[in-house]
Subunit: 211 residues, 2 copies
DNA sequence: TAAAAAATCATGCAAATGCGGTATTGTCGG
DNA sequence: CCGACAATACCGCATTTGCATGATTTTTTA
């Protein structure tokens, strides 16, 4: 047998932690090297052993699993983190990915799927539950049906706003569009009214969809 | 048997197109309803029939598969698009997702995996090859080792830039930080020099990481 | 075709901003 | 202890910008 994939588990609920440990340790090619009840315990002891894969519960007492990953990923860059959670809430998924997790599965996944996911993760993949993958894919979509604030703007106003967003001044935009600077100023004034803002930065923020 | 999943195939290479059609049509629960050699042909005929799933090659003569999806997704919002490609290049993956595709698999996937992916896609999932999923997950990572331009800024400068990015004026920032407006202006001036920009919008763009 | 919306241009003012120089204070590392 | 740097602060000037008011022409749409 090849060297097994070493796994650590961070999970506060006794029953689940034990079940996972037994599942992983019992399977061929896997070795459960450590289990922790809290994020803090994992932070204390994991950096020393640097396992291959960490199964991380999100909803932990004290520090949550996402923040735990954020810290551990710095200390053990080679370790892969798989978030395990009961629910597939939007925000936590993205927060977990940002923190450095590479896999996100639901606890209700069947055991064999879990082991498969661990293997896949260890081999460089990023296993995700279908519904979670869909969320992620959707986040890329340029949503055409979004209740876009920018709809109230005319094409010309959008054109001008787009150039403002690139950091161009009134004068520059005027030159680019071959119109008078005063015209551009008028447009910008209209844009501000429609978007309910009072400065370029605010307008550009709305245009680029950042709050 | 339930109503089968209706599938269309867009693929220029005769051999692959036929193979896929036979595979899909031969499988239980699937029906290949149409095949097209080009994006243009698909655009002409698909909107009328609105199938469940479209397998879309990316590298097509004339219009490419991504642009084709972009248009078709508008016309048939209910249809799911699965990109099929030989390679897993970075940019095309993201472009495809932005265009509205919900699945992205490699042609070298085994036949049963392909059928499984079609089913999963039709049921609301987003099947991806592991390597592609990893690319996507990685795109969310906030790379802590990135050569961040903002490193040259002092903490105080970042603080000020952060408030500017929220649309606050010199005066407002000064009030928030309990310092004189001239101090804030000086800081901003320094920020501009360090970031090599000449206006708030440009500075904020760099701060928030857009080009 | 008449009314509404969009695009164009102008003038003017006050405030905000960009750019330059100068200076004081405190901290930190060599 | 000294130099480098950060943070603080001021003065001044030219430009940009936010805001108001008004007007003409073109385009869209009802």
């Amino acid at each position: 047998m090849n060297t097994p994939i070493t796994v650590a588990i961070v999970e506060d609920k006794e029953l689940i932690r034990q079940s996972l440990a037994i599942l992983v340790d019992g399977a061929d090619g896997f070795a459960c090297q450590a289990t922790f009840e809290t994020a803090e315990a994992a932070l204390d002891h994991l950096p020393g052993q640097c396992v291959d894969v960490v199964l991380m519960d999100i909803d932990l007492p004290g520090m949550n699993g996402i923040d735990c990953v954020r810290h551990l990923k710095q200390l053990c860059p080679a370790t892969q983190f798989m978030m395990c959670t009961m629910y597939d809430e939007d925000e936590t998924v993205f927060e977990a990915l940002k923190a450095g997790a590479n896999a996100y599965i639901l606890k209700r996944s069947p055991p064999h799927k879990l082991l498969e996911a661990i293997t896949e993760l260890h081999e460089g993949g990023s296993p995700m539950s279908s519904t979670i993958a869909r969320k992620i894919a959707s986040s890329f979509h340029i949503n055409p049906t979004a209740p876009n604030e920018l709809d109230v703007l005319t094409p010309r106003e959008r054109e001008i706003l787009d150039r403002l967003s690139k950091g161009h001044s009134h004068k520059e935009v005027a030159a680019e569009l071959f119109v008078s600077p005063t015209t551009v100023r008028k447009h910008i004034f209209n844009i501000y009214e429609k978007l309910q803002v009072h400065s370029k930065v605010e307008a550009v923020n709305k245009y680029l969809g950042r709050k």
